[in-house]
């Protein structure tokens, strides 16, 4: 066992999608005082994200210090090897140790809350509450439902489940700070409040659980992940000021404060976390990516899985503070892949050499000695990972799938299993191929992209990515061929593909053709900074410095965090001999993205020219770290080491490297140009119109405006045991047509029978059961849990029976214990709280949906004085549905109301 530094504590807080561009103005206004204080006593900076920008992949990179190809989480869903179909990526899919496993192995205790793909909970030293905690529910027939595997150790489940916050618990006072005019929203037509309440209550749940653990459990490491900034941003960033021209003034006024409120709420939660952590704890606050909040906000979201990621920006946030950490400083070039190694360094634990990140040594007042081991994976001993073969049950998988679908990250979770499995497989391959491309391993991406482009040649994104991959591999001719097969002779017609075409021409040395294509791309979309970066590059190659400069400047004016444009500018300044400007722009570029060899090189040249030899050496060495065959960097270093009177050995090394590279160049160049013309088979690509047709068929709008059937059913609903059977009897007596079968006969609990229709219980899976001829207008008994599953195409009149919760609970316990189901173990208070919550939830929902009208009928009132209640029913349903309404009251047998007062009558 590796002994870790026991004195250290680390609190790692994840705010998905938090972005300095939104935060900075709030800090200036004094609206995020806690974060402001944290920054002042620590360091802050941008945190470069990884590609593709998908949260499960990214947060697992944070936790492991490894890219997705190593950690094995390749997106949201994967094929389910056990049950068929697809399932969300789980902790069983992760192929390497996360921080909490390494810490377990090192004798340290962790709390892990809400982390992506942490379900089912791993048996670590400490507590895990997984990302399935949102699935804690109350079922009026079965009691509290905590998805198995949500909490480790399992005996904490009951204690922690009560910190689940339900949307129905939120009051006006919670909502008004975000949406001051919430009361004016017509919830029949504007549904945005419903997801809002869900996101807020989920955040409150995670926070309550995290704080409960921090208060009650000893810990060395706590990791808490909050997804609310991302979710609020996806739902409401379009309304964030300044108003976008396509957002109506009315919507803007209503929702403009939501994002701001979300950040401020997080600042308030942060205050509590810091308070509980205490000053001796090292705090790391980070986000996995940023979120477009300015003029670059997209107008829509692409019709594809993970389409919402189009809103994600390259840079997240990073703040770190605590003992031994620098104060009030900015750091540069951090990437989220560096978080894991940095945490290990704080604990004085070794970094695995197979980790892709580096410890951020620049944050420490005195940089610690970094220890390494070959790999933590090879280290034996109990680390709290799952045993081989552990899988998640199909129900939980389904539940998580529904959650992802609701967020728009995955396609229809109800699709058939074969299709689901295929989609999951394709998406995972697509995502991992993008990781390879991003890591500059295009040869590993190629077979994956070729495969999926063949399987789905109607998806433009696969074709484009394959072309880009051919290009990155140097197969210029093949890339060009694929583009022209995809876009016919008329040209791509979109800026991204036109840009790729331009790059191909430039790589061949066709500057004229390249520039023409670039100008075409600019005309198609004058708002893409990348177009101007490319144009700048062409002019630079043509030695047109002023034109290059103005193109780069245009790119920066569109996106001031465009590292490539800043790098380009630094090259222009270097060529113009402007040392100061070179240094300024190169430093800005590498502060945004550290891996920019050319920017480091430019910096080195400007430093060398200014006589700053030591700094120049550092810059050139950094450039070589990212691009070891950069011959001019070796040249400079050879000269610097020689002239500096210093290091003859190093001078010699760099001279030799220079010669070696220069000698191998013609060969390398030939190998490169040989690739240019190499051709491969092309998949059969349908014509553009045909592709669009297939796309629309395969991926219909997730929320189609389903044609209304014109049918109108009467639903008798409410909590179980709240008088629904009686109401069915009354309707029958009143002459209403019922839809019932005789399956559940009268018993002691419902002496007059249940009046149920079994098929309704399958309505979620078989919505067509209501399509049968002749059912229109029938009355159906429908327990409250099923209301939300009723097909949207019909209209419903819902008679919602209410009864004092104590009575329902008693009545239900009597029945449950007779049926000897496990619900009988519930304690009464918990049962009542759950029932109340469930009923409020349903009422709230009923008020907000347009396809259901409802009235509430109070069971005791009905029994004591049926007259007025019957009149209300007639008014609600219409006299034609209740031709014999005079007979309805006669059905009531007051002796049925025997659970009154919460005391069961002797039976």
């Amino acid at each position: 066992m590796v002994e870790a530094n026991r004195k250290r504590k680390v609190l790692l807080i994840g705010w998905d999608a938090a972005d300095w561009e939104v935060i900075t103005p709030l800090l200036e206004e004094g609206l995020m005082p806690t974060l402001d204080g944290l920054i002042n006593r620590g360091v802050m900076g941008n945190l470069a994200t990884l590609q593709p920008i998908l949260s499960p992949m990214l947060w697992n990179s944070v936790a492991t210090g490894k890219f997705a190809d190593k950690h094995g989480i390749h997106g949201f869903i994967e094929p389910d090897p056990k049950n068929g179909g697809a399932r969300p990526y789980t902790s069983t899919s992760r192929r390497c140790k996360a921080l909490w496993n390494i810490l377990t192995q090192s004798g340290l205790r962790s709390n892990v809350v809400g982390w992506w793909a942490s379900h089912p909970a791993e048996p670590i030293n400490g507590t895990v509450v997984t990302n399935a905690f949102g699935g804690v529910k109350f079922d009026p027939e079965r009691g509290w439902l905590i998805p198995p595997g949500t909490i480790h150790p399992a005996d904490k489940a009951a204690f922690l489940a009560r910190f689940k916050v339900f949307p129905s618990e939120l009051a006006e006072a919670h909502i008004l700070p975000f949406i001051p005019n919430a009361a004016k929203i017509d919830q029949q037509t504007d549904r945005r409040l419903t997801p809002f309440a869900k996101v807020l209550s989920d955040a409150a749940s995670i926070h309550a659980v995290a704080t409960a653990l921090m208060e009650t459990e000893p810990w060395d490491f706590t990791a808490v992940y909050y997804d609310a900034v991302d979710h609020f941003s996806h739902a409401f960033m379009a309304y964030h000021p300044p108003r976008l021209e396509w957002i109506s003034e009315e919507d803007f006024e209503m929702y403009k404060d939501v994002v701001k409120g979300a950040y401020r709420f997080h600042d308030m939660m942060l205050e509590r976390l810091l308070q509980l952590a205490g000053p001796e704890t090292t705090i790391i606050l980070c986000s996995d990516h940023g979120f477009e909040s300015g003029s670059q906000r997209p107008r829509g979201t692409p019709r594809e899985p993970a389409g919402p990621a189009i809103w994600h920006r390259q840079y997240g946030i990073f703040v770190m503070a605590g003992p031994g950490i620098k104060r009030d400083e900015r750091i540069y070039g951090a990437s989220l892949i560096d978080i894991g190694p940095t945490v290990l360094t704080v604990f004085d634990l070794p970094i695995g050499q197979d980790m892709d990140g580096r410890p951020l040594l620049e944050v420490f007042e005195t940089p610690p000695q970094v220890k390494t081991i070959e790999s933590w994976e090879k280290k034996t001993g109990e680390c709290g990972m799952h045993e081989e073969g552990k899988e998640m049950g199909p129900d939980q998988a389904q539940e998580l799938m529904q959650q992802f679908a609701a967020l728009g990250y995955i396609e229809d979770p109800d699709a058939d299993k074969g299709k689901q499995e295929e989609s999951a497989d394709i998406e995972a391959k697509y995502n991992i191929s993008r990781t390879y491309l991003w890591k500059n391993q295009p040869d590993r991406a190629l077979p994956l992209l070729e495969e999926i482009a063949r399987r789905r040649p109607w998806e433009d994104r696969f074709l484009y990515q394959l072309a880009a991959c051919y290009f990155q591999n140097g197969y210029l001719q093949q890339a060009e061929r694929l583009l022209s097969a995809t876009y016919d002779d008329s040209g791509p017609g979109n800026a991204t593909a036109t840009l790729l075409l331009a790059k191909i021409k430039l790589a061949r040395g066709d500057f004229g053709g390249g520039l023409q294509a670039l100008l075409a791309a600019e005309a198609m979309n004058p708002w893409i900074p990348g177009v101007y970066t490319q144009i700048g590059e062409v002019y630079a190659r043509l030695l047109q410095w002023e034109k290059a400069k103005s193109a780069y400047e245009k790119a920066v004016s569109l996106d001031e965090d465009n590292a490539l444009a800043l790098q380009g500018l630094s090259s222009v300044y270097r060529r113009q001999g402007l040392n100061q400007e070179t240094v300024d722009t190169a430093l800005r570029a590498v502060s945004l993205l550290h891996r920019l060899p050319l920017a480091h090189f430019n910096l080195g040249v400007a430093m060398a020219r200014s006589g700053e030899s030591e700094r120049a050496i550092l810059a050139f060495e950094t450039a070589l770290r990212f691009q070891p065959n950069m011959v001019n960097a070796h040249r400079y270093l050879a000269t610097l080491h020689r002239n500096n009177g210093g290091d003859a050995e190093k001078a010699k090394f760099h001279r030799q490297e220079t010669e070696k590279i220069t000698r191998s160049r013609p060969r390398a160049k030939k190998a490169k140009t040989d690739r240019f013309e190499k051709l491969f088979d092309l998949p059969e690509i349908p014509k553009r119109e045909e592709r669009l047709k297939i796309l629309l068929r395969e991926r219909p709008d997730p929320k189609p405006d389903e044609k209304k059937s014109g049918k109108n059913f009467t639903l008798v609903s409410g909590l179980p045991r709240s008088g629904t059977s009686l109401m069915m009897q009354m309707l029958e007596a009143g002459g209403a047509k019922l839809l019932i079968d005789g399956e559940r006969v009268a018993d002691m609990d419902n002496p007059k029978g249940y009046y149920e229709w079994e098929l309704i219980k399958q309505i979620g899976k078989k919505p067509e059961v209501l399509d049968t001829e002749g059912l229109d207008g029938r009355a159906i008994k429908c327990i409250s849990m099923l209301l939300q599953q009723m097909p949207l195409k019909h209209n419903y009149k819902v008679i919602f029976m209410t009864r004092p919760i104590e009575e329902v609970a008693v009545s239900q316990r009597t029945m449950i214990s007779r049926l000897a189901t496990k619900g009988a173990e519930l304690d009464n208070e918990q049962l009542q709280r759950g029932l109340t919550m469930h009923r409020n939830e349903i009422r709230h929902w009923l008020k907000s949906v347009p396809h259901m009208e409802f009235i509430e009928i109070d069971y005791p009132t009905l029994i004591q004085n049926p007259g007025p209640e019957v009149s209300r029913l007639v008014e609600f349903l219409g006299a034609d549905r209740l031709p014999n309404s005079a007979k309805m009251a006669k059905v009531i047998d007051p002796s049925l109301h025997r659970k009154k007062g919460g005391k069961p009558m002797p039976q």
Binding site: P33, L176, P177, E215, M268
Partner: protein, 230 residues
């Protein structure tokens, strides 16, 4: 005892000024004035001052800003023997009003149920010399306090610093004598919403702040909600 440990920590959570800062900016204007931390309700305590039929002595109770409320019962004979139960608010420099209606020279306070929001009622000004009628002998159409039982009178006054709302609770003995008991009364400072029967400004906990406190805050919030619902 994990929960106790959680509860002990609750007050270290979030400063008032912090919440105030949060609540001030435009985003939260809608909740401002509901119940700010400084708001106070002044409560008389239980008085049970009897005002018997025909006593003809005005009982006066002080509010602030020079305002007072007064109660009296005088004998009346115009519609048979009986008592006239009367109420008046006076003394505040800018305005003295009650929740109710005016009919000609006469004023009739409304009888409010416990929990009614005072500020939301329609108000009428006092007639400069007359008391307002709670109940008159065997009853005229406008009198609202003829029946025996306990009800509330709402009032508002402005001594120059803004409007303050309040209530007085009376138990009527019934027509035609209309003797009554002044049970108690209360008023809230400027900017304080008050409901009939409310005696303390229990400021609604800063709800969002409580959620931000996490576990401990959530439990407090649920408890307060539980009480409100009870």
């Amino acid at each position: 005892m994990k929960t106790q440990k959680l509860r002990r920590n609750r007050l270290t959570s979030l400063s008032n000024s912090r919440w105030a800062a949060y609540a001030t900016a435009g985003a939260a204007t809608a909740i401002a004035g509901a119940n700010s931390a400084e708001a106070a309700i002044h409560y008389s305590g239980v008085l049970n001052v009897s005002v018997p039929t025909g006593e003809s002595v005005a009982h006066t109770f002080s509010l602030d800003n020079a305002a007072v409320i007064r109660f009296v019962n005088i004998l009346t004979g115009s519609s048979g023997p009986g008592g006239d139960a009367l109420f008046r608010i006076q003394g505040a420099a800018v305005s003295n009003m009650f929740a109710g209606t005016a009919a000609g020279a006469f004023r009739y306070p409304s009888n409010l149920a416990a929990g009614a929001s005072i500020a939301a009622r329609p108000f009428a000004s006092m007639n400069s010399n007359f008391f307002a009628t709670l109940a008159y002998g065997g009853g005229f159409a406008h009198s609202k306090f003829l029946a025996a039982g306990t009800d509330f009178i709402g009032f508002r006054f402005n001594g120059g610093s803004g409007i303050e709302y309040g209530w007085a609770r009376v138990t009527m003995n019934g027509a035609p004598g209309n003797g009554f008991t002044v049970v108690d009364y209360a008023w809230g400072d400027v900017g304080t919403a008050i409901t009939a029967g409310q005696t303390t400004a229990v400021p609604e906990p800063a709800s969002l702040g409580l959620l931000a406190v996490g576990a401990a805050g959530l439990l407090i919030w649920r408890r307060s909600r539980g009480k409100a619902a009870a």
